[in-house]
C-alpha cells in the first residue's frame, strides 16, 4: 500500500507543478506534446551501441526544467527510484553479448556493456520526457492537445473523467482499507474473503456514484456532449518552440556532437 500511496503523492505533486506559471507552461499544449514525442522518438531511434550521441539530448531537460521552474531534484529522485528496473531490464546484455568492442584504459569493454549503458541513458531520457510533459502541460492540457490531434472525444472525455475521480475514489479506497486494517488485528483481515467484499463494496459505491454523477449531468441539460472550450491559439512563439526543438533533436540524431567536440579537443591537445 505504501508504494501506491506514494504514487498518489506523485500524482498530486505533478498536478501541482502543472498548475504553475512559467514561459514553458504558457506554450500551447499541442506544441509541447509534439515536441516531447519527437524527442522520445529521436532518443529511441539510435542503434543499441550508441552512447555518446545520446548525451546531448540532456540539453533538453537541462533547459526546460529550470525555465519551467520545476524542481530538478524531484525528477532526479524519480529516476533514482526507477533506475534499478532499467538496470534489471538491461543487465542481460552484458551477460549475453561479451564480444569486446573497445578498450578503455586497457580494460576491454564488451558490446553488452555499451548497450547496457545505452539502455540506462534511454531510460532516463524517456522517463524525463513523460514526467516533464505532464508537469509543464497538465493532464487537461495533454487531453486537449490529443483532442485537437484527432483523438476521439469519447476517449478524451474518458481520460478527463478518470482523472477527475482518481482523487475522489482513491481517498475513499484508502479510508476503507484503513478501516479494515484497524479492525483486523494482525493479518487476518487482509485475507481474500475480506478483500473480496471490501473491493466489491467499493465497486458498488463507485457504481452508485456514477449514477449520481449522471443525474447531476442530466439536471444540467446533458445531451451526450461535453463542452470543453478553451481558446487554444497557436502563436509564433509556440511554433518556434516546436520547430526549434524538433530541429535540434533531428540534427543531433544525425550529427554526433560529442564525438566532434571530443575530436576537436583531442586535436588541440595533440
Amino acid at each position: 500500500m505504501a508504494e501506491i500511496a506514494r504514487s498518489f503523492h506523485d500524482l498530486n505533486y505533478i498536478d501541482t507543478l502543472s498548475c504553475m506559471d512559467s514561459p514553458v507552461h504558457r506554450i500551447d499544449p499541442r506544441a509541447k506534446l509534439a515536441t516531447f514525442l519527437i524527442f522520445a522518438v529521436c532518443v529511441v531511434s539510435f542503434g543499441k551501441y550508441e552512447v555518446s550521441a545520446l548525451l546531448p539530448y540532456f540539453f533538453f531537460p537541462a533547459v526546460i526544467i529550470p525555465l519551467a521552474r520545476i524542481p530538478a531534484r524531484y525528477f532526479a529522485g524519480k529516476i533514482v527510484f526507477l533506475l534499478p528496473f532499467a538496470v534489471l531490464i538491461g543487465i542481460f546484455n552484458p551477460l549475453y553479448d561479451r564480444e569486446t568492442l573497445l578498450s578503455i584504459a586497457g580494460l576491454p569493454v564488451s558490446g553488452g556493456m555499451i548497450s547496457f549503458v545505452s539502455i540506462l541513458i534511454r531510460f532516463i531520457l524517456t522517463i524525463l520526457a513523460a514526467l516533464m510533459l505532464v508537469a509543464v502541460t497538465g493532464f487537461t492540457g495533454v487531453c486537449m492537445a490529443l483532442e485537437r490531434f484527432g483523438v476521439p472525444k469519447t476517449f478524451t472525455t474518458q481520460l478527463m473523467m478518470l482523472y477527475r475521480y482518481i482523487f475522489v475514489l482513491t481517498s475513499e479506497g484508502m479510508r476503507m482499507a484503513r478501516a479494515r486494517d484497524l479492525r483486523s488485528v494482525g493479518r487476518k483481515g487482509s485475507g481474500l474473503k475480506v478483500y473480496g467484499s471490501l473491493i466489491g463494496y467499493l465497486l458498488i459505491r463507485t457504481w452508485n456514484r456514477a449514477q449520481r454523477i449522471h443525474m447531476a449531468m442530466l439536471s444540467r441539460g446533458y445531451r451526450g456532449d461535453f463542452f470543453l472550450r478553451r481558446p487554444l491559439r497557436i502563436t509564433s512563439a509556440d511554433i518556434a518552440f516546436g520547430l526549434g526543438w524538433s530541429a535540434v533533436f533531428i540534427t543531433l540524431r544525425f550529427i554526433n556532437l560529442p564525438r566532434i567536440a571530443g575530436q576537436l579537443i583531442m586535436g588541440v591537445l595533440s
Binding site: 498536478d15 493532464f139 487537461t140 487531453c143 478527463m160 473523467m161 482523472y163 477527475r164 475521480y165 482523487f167 475522489v168 456514484r209 449520481r212 454523477i213 443525474m215 447531476a216 449531468m217 442530466l218 439536471s219 444540467r220 441539460g221 446533458y222 445531451r223 456532449d225 463542452f227 470543453l228 472550450r229
Partner: protein, 255 residues
C-alpha cells in the same frame, strides 16, 4: 409569475423492488417560498426531490413545474427551471476545472460563448469563489466545493432551487457561509435536510415526510413546537429552540 410554482398531485412512487417510497403526496409550493422538507432517513425526501427534475417518474399522480405538467416534452425546460444541487459536491463537479463545471449547464442550453462567460462569472461572484475559477475541484475545501456546486446551477438561471442536504460535512464557518448566501436568494427554494437549525434560519414553511407520506405541512415554528409530531417522525427540536439544559436545570432548582 405563476412560473415558479411546484405542484405535486397524488404523487406515488414504487421502486422496481416493490418499495413504496412515496404514497399519495399532494403539495403546492408558490413563487418565492422557502420550504424545508424534513423527515427521518428513508422517509422519502430524496425520492421526492428526484421527481422534481424528472430523474424519476411518478408511478401514479402528477408533477407540475411552472405552467406545464412535467412530461418528456417539457423535461428540458423543467430541468432549466429547477436547479438541483445534490448532496455530494463531488458528484456535481465532474469537469476538470470549476470554470468548466459552471459552464457545463449554460453550454448545454446552447448559449453563445460570451453569454456563457458572463453567466459563469456572475455565478462565481455570487458564490464568492471567483478566485477558484481555474482550480480543479479536488483542490477545493468542502465549503468551497459546496459553493461551487451551487454555482454550477446558478449559471443556468433557474427559478427554483432544490437543495439536498446543503450543509452536511461542512465546518461551522462553511455552514454559516452557505446559510447566509442562501438567505439572500430570491429564488423559490426547496431544501431537504436534517439540519433543523438551518430550517429555522431559512425556511418559513416546513413539510414533514414520514414513511412516504406528508405527515405535516405548515409554518416552521408551529411544526417545531409540536413535540409529539417531532417524536413520531424521529425528529428533534432544533438546538436553538431547546432551552439551555444547564440554565433550565438551575431554573428548576431556583423556582
Amino acid at each position: 409569475m405563476s412560473h415558479h410554482i411546484v405542484e405535486l398531485k397524488g404523487l406515488s412512487h414504487v421502486y422496481p423492488d416493490g418499495t413504496n417510497a412515496l404514497d399519495d403526496i399532494t403539495l403546492r409550493i408558490t413563487h418565492g417560498e422557502s420550504v424545508a422538507i424534513v423527515g427521518a432517513n428513508g422517509a422519502g425526501k430524496s425520492t421526492l426531490l428526484l421527481h422534481l427534475n424528472g430523474y424519476l417518474w411518478p408511478t401514479s399522480g402528477s408533477v407540475r413545474i411552472g405552467d406545464y405538467p412535467l412530461t418528456k416534452e417539457t423535461l428540458r425546460e423543467a430541468r432549466r427551471t429547477v436547479g438541483m444541487i445534490f448532496q455530494d459536491p463531488d458528484d456535481q463537479l465532474f469537469m476538470p476545472t470549476i470554470f468548466d463545471d459552471v459552464a457545463f449547464g449554460p453550454f448545454n442550453l446552447g448559449l453563445p460563448r460570451d453569454e456563457v462567460e458572463t453567466r459563469v462569472q456572475e455565478a462565481l461572484v455570487r458564490m464568492d469563489i471567483a478566485h477558484l475559477r481555474d482550480k480543479p475541484p479536488f483542490k477545493l475545501s468542502a465549503g468551497e466545493k459546496r459553493r461551487a456546486a451551487i454555482a454550477t446551477v446558478l449559471s443556468m438561471a433557474p427559478d427554483i432551487l432544490v437543495l439536498d442536504e446543503p450543509t452536511t460535512g461542512l465546518d461551522p464557518l462553511g455552514r454559516r457561509q452557505i446559510i447566509s448566501i442562501l438567505k439572500d436568494f430570491t429564488h423559490t427554494r426547496i431544501i431537504a435536510t436534517h439540519d433543523l437549525d438551518l430550517v429555522l434560519d431559512l425556511c418559513s414553511r416546513t413539510i414533514v415526510l414520514h414513511r412516504g407520506t406528508v405527515r405535516a405541512d405548515g409554518r416552521t415554528l408551529d411544526i417545531f413546537r409540536d413535540d409529539a409530531l417531532l417524536a413520531e417522525c424521529h425528529l428533534e427540536q432544533p438546538l436553538s429552540m431547546q432551552g439551555c439544559p444547564i440554565c433550565a436545570g438551575k431554573m428548576k432548582h431556583g423556582g
